[in-house]
Amino acid sequence: MKTQWKIGGEAGFGIMTAGQIFSKACTRGGLNCFGYTEYPSLIRGGHNTYQTTVSEDPVGGPMRMVDVLVALNKETVTLHSEELSEGAAIIYDPDKVQIRPDEAAKAILVPVTFSKIALETAGQELMSNNVALGASIAVYDYEIDLLLSVIKDQFRGKGAEVVSKNLAAARAGYDYVRQKLPGPYKAKLVKTKKAPNMLMSGNEAVGAGAIAAGCKFYAGYPMTPTSSLLHFMAANERKYRLVVKQAEDEISVINMAIGAGFAGARSMVATSGGGFCLMTEGYGLAGMTETPVVIVMGMRGGPSTGLPTWTEQADLKFLLNAAHGEFPRIVLTPGDMEELFYSTMKAFNLAEKYQTPVIIITDKHMAESHASLGRLDAKAIPIERGELASENTAGYKRYKITDSGVSPRALPGQPGNIFVANSDEHDETGISTEDSGMRIGMMNKRMRKLQHAAKEIDGALLLGPKRADITLVGWGSTKGAISDAMRLLEAEGIKANHLYITAASPFPAEAVGKALKPRKPKLMVELNFSGQMASVIREKTGVEIKNRLLKYDGRPFYPEEICAEVKKVLGR
């Protein structure tokens, strides 16, 4: 069965840590899950939530209805009572939170004195969320040992005393419910016989993919939602022999990465829309000098500072057109943690083979959520460094005009291949030129690279049944909600498939055009105001998708919303 657990409280209560621990306790039991967090842009106070959607079947993302709600404050009950499913459990501290009968008409109340139990067992009120976690496991009739093993690993670095206090608090919460409030409760979690899954955030998936791909240089400037990628890379700097540099601004970040990439290190940066605005000139510089660099662009609600801690897909057209002038822009749009891992590995190959910047678009919904993953095989994407010049190449020309558009790359420090790179238009040796013929030759050479890159980028996939009542069209992180919606629709006898776009440039025009059959119902599903991908599809294929489900309140799609819209379109 599929169930959703949600915990809410003030910032500073440890909501995110508790949520991750709960998710991990699920993945260690071989279950699939997706952990999603909502929080305002501040450090203390405000309302924070983390919800874990769990099933034995694949889970694409959060759903609307909650079966177990852990309320660390009153606001959690007030704000989320409408999400409670029939017979849902509310676990709360009766000493802190009073619940009126009308607020929880459909729910079963599970009063557990978190604070009191935390003080008695661990001597610290701060441990309340561990009590709540233990109580949650009991309500789900799940395995307490799985929770305890995660807690042990989570706090190992903080010493034996901290570990034992956390364990005692969790155990006490579990025992309290088992002994005093044994249920029965609606939802159960059952450990499977499958091997434990991994639990990864989108940022961790990108980071792990980058390290596996031999990324040696990472520069960043803190910005939600990619700050935790900076933290991840910094934490792994010594072990994996990288250089991680926090720079003074995003302009410096991209230029440093270009310097490192030019010198021969696989380089990556990450930012969000505002930071990328500052990077755009550097983005064009990488294109002009044919310097490989990987740019991770984590979207959030815009414009300007916008909705800093919420999700959106409104930067697509900006990213497809960022920086002045024309150069080969490769823009990948992976849609889940597994794809983020492989796309990142692939991005380094593309950047070096085609000697051009590669953008990976992600968003807050992937970057900061957690998903279960079975196995990742780093060997599936072997490292390809592209054409490199050998030392002392006679008559070496760094920007030699070739059929593929790719010219063998030399690196500073290499004997005998001296050349210059130039942000001005240049000739084959890198010297500035304004000659008409050379300009045309160089533009054509650079742009040819995109045609060749297109051959190895599968930019569109048709997921689900080939013949369907409706085709849902999406890109990036809506993949999860759309696949969850397809499962729900199937149960109701509606066959839907999913035209899923994984690269926005080079655009898979042929595959998309072929999949979008005339007279077949279609629904574009996007997290933006204007239907940006729908507009790109129309530009590239001539197909106009009139039915559009658009959302721009910072929240991801719930599968229920997509189902409702599908029924509306189909008139059912």
Partner: protein, 281 residues
Amino acid sequence: MINPQSLNSGVFPNWCSGCGDFTIFASIKNSLVKLDMPIEKHFFVFGIGCHGHMVNFMKAYGFEGLHGRPLPVAEGAKLANRDLNVVVVSGDGDAYGEGMSHFMHIMRRNFDITLIVHNNMVYGLTIGQASPTADCGFRSRSTPEGLIEHPVNPIALAIAGGATFVARGFAGDPAHLTNLIMEGINHRGFSLIDVFQPCVTFNSVNTYQWFRERIYKLEEKGHNPADKIEAMKRALEPDKLPIGVFYREQAKQYEEQTPTQKSIVKEPIETDISELLQSMR
């Protein structure tokens, strides 16, 4: 073997006749000859401005980046391959205008990078506007009634900002400038060499003659470059323009303090992440 001719790309410099850039170019080449390192070990990063045209004239590994941004490119290259001798050639608009924040931040990092700034107090390539180092009252196409702002003092900023080698040269004295550039490159840490470079086309105020009337050599006045307070006093002198080494100290270089033992371009690229993945279970 490097000789001055082997450092010419074959493209003849297109600077205005009499431009200070010629002697700065010559001084850089002379210093490379005297340093006698293998030519491929040098990596020059240029900004945008008249100075940046040097990318076309000099035969050495070079990268002409964006206006104001040569410093972070140089930092990235140095972090990737610390065996390179990284030299940034920039201008007053490039380093002290558009790129001011990079200028301030590179100094507190002490990379072993040498920054040579062509300082002519005017924007030459965009045909004559006031630059960040132009004097108050300077009349130009963008300031027909005279500049209201006061000039940036790069030497004082560098001393306060943590640069470990701060010097100034004059394009009218290439022998002196050659020595400064050699000292800057030999200095282990960040070096600033600000160079007075008369613009013969767009600056009729700060001419060779004007500079000659105001400059003096610090070493001839018994200045002690280890004395930071004294260096700052010299940098703030109102009417005279000292040249030579203002300040010098030895401090740890940034790139030697990163966790990697050697240049990352020399690290094997194949990486086993199975332990990392295991930690996520």
